[in-house]
Symmetry: C2
Subunit: 260 residues, 2 copies
């Protein structure tokens, strides 16, 4: 049974991409077959896995209907590619023109379900599908949620908590149109300076919003994580201690998914 | 002569809001009259200056045409309010429904110039107008650029450099429609861990993109800056050493604006 999880938060820079990459890597090293869908026109997930969009001929933008190269749309299996970092890890890359595809989506029939329908062709091949989304609550993030069984919400500070109520409302709206439930897996604290007053305050505010659905795993602020972005090699593959929180997060996710 | 500057980068979380708040504070304490325009529906600038949008009756969303409370649109002077942190600092607050206003903007005549036209009513009252924008290149960020004399581009890491070419292209497109030039004031490095290999690599990549237009001031990663977000009191007002880079940035900005 495949579990599809969307990383969402309209607040920018909370760690949606970094957690997608490292959670995917942790699940892959634990033996699960994982597909990462980069559904952000910034294509940071693709970049973070060593793929530059000018290296690729077709991307997720082609799948949801925007003609790029040849004018024809593609199916998802055609654009999915293996990732060199682990044999269990696969990527549906993004491209800048996913932003233009979002514009054309606005007038499409069933515009909220394009990604959900496209994923039907591949879901059975994977244990997990992780979808990275852009910093907004537009049609791309809505498609990511409608395509998912659950959402994971990274939080890094006070600003990122401000929009959570609106995000949960949008998730609720998505669940009403979706063919399947969309659970809230929970909130996960990222970039925390452990044992500071600020971290305690953020944790308190987040717990007030998420209650029991607050992940126990907290991802600390770590230089090595930030640095791994620049060298396009997710820290989870490095064997360094900074990888540990992502393995702990993977364990928690697997346990929660089991209960859905 | 008023200088209007937009903080832009479609990459999320690079520090657009934090730099807007602290640069505005630094300019205000140096004797300049400063208006902060919060043009992001997340309203983080408003939150960061101690204003919650349910405290206010009207916001920038009303000015650009979306009827909130009474159904009437407002003028900018009606929504601008003083900020308690400094007598030289004023705010045009945002509201969640700025996102809905962006949707109605799509079909409006002169949709890219709404903010530029609205600012005409107040510009003369200020030395600086700083506009915070959302993490996207949609109509809100385009309005922010068309309304500005110059753009300031925060960079925090490799992901945020990826989209700079597209951002500069969009700025060029905005300059072609605007009634006045829109300069690139430059890129400013934020959240840097000084004296690390990663910071050196980011600096090299950023300088390759911005050339001479790279700010000399580098804003380091500081716990106190992050913490100031949660307590809604920008660090520049605290008198702590973490405020120094923002004063240095204000000096550089004032010098560059003088040459425009
Ligand atoms: N635990 C961490 N410690 C240190 N740096 C981190 C950590 N997690 C993420 N970062 C850094 O924070 C920045 C923002 O993270 P990321 O790009 O993953 O956020 P995002 O939510 O995907 O952003 P966007 O909203 O633009 O999509 C990146 O430069 C990344 O390297
Ligand atoms: N120099 C710094 N040191 C430590 N933390 C910082 C620094 N600058 C910004 N931050 C923190 O980084 C986070 C992102 O910054 P901010 O919200 O200002 O970015 P943004 O570009 O406005 O994000 P968005 O794209 O969502 O509008 C905030 O939680 C802020 O507290
Ligand atoms: Mg991202
Ligand atoms: Mg912001």
């Amino acid at each position: 049974q495949t579990a599809t999880i969307a990383l969402v938060n309209q607040k920018g820079g909370v760690g949606k991409t970094t957690i997608t990459l490292n959670l995917a890597g942790a699940l892959a090293t634990q033996g699960f077959r994982v597909l990462v869908v980069d559904f952000d026109p910034q294509a940071n997930c693709s970049f973070g896995l060593g793929v530059l969009w000018n290296d690729i001929e077709a991307s997720i933008a082609d799948v949801i209907g925007y003609e790029v190269a040849s004018g024809a749309t593609r199916t998802l299996p055609e654009v999915v590619r293996p990732v060199e970092y682990h044999p269990n890890l696969f990527l549906a890359p993004s491209h800048l023109n996913l932003a233009a595809a979002e514009m054309t989506l606005h007038n499409a029939l069933g515009r909220e379900m394009k990604l959900d329908k496209a994923l039907d062709a591949v879901r059975r091949d994977y244990d997990y599908v992780l979808i990275d989304s852009p910093p907004s609550l537009g049609l791309l993030s809505i498609n990511a949620m409608v395509a998912s069984d659950a959402v994971l919400i990274p939080i890094d500070g006070a600003f990122s908590l401000e929009g959570v109520r609106q995000l949960l409302n949008t998730r609720k709206g998505c669940a009403e149109l979706s063919r399947h439930p969309i659970h809230v897996l929970g909130g996960v604290l990222n970039r925390q300076r452990l044992n500071t007053a600020n971290a305690a305050a953020i944790r308190e505010m987040a717990t007030a919003l998420f209650g029991k659905r607050m992940f126990k795993t907290i991802i600390p602020e770590r230089t090595a994580v930030d640095g791994s972005t620049a060298v396009r090699f997710p820290v989870v593959f490095s064997g360094m201690p900074e990888a540990d929180p992502y393995h702990a997060l993977a364990d928690e996710v697997a346990a929660l998914v089991g209960e859905l």
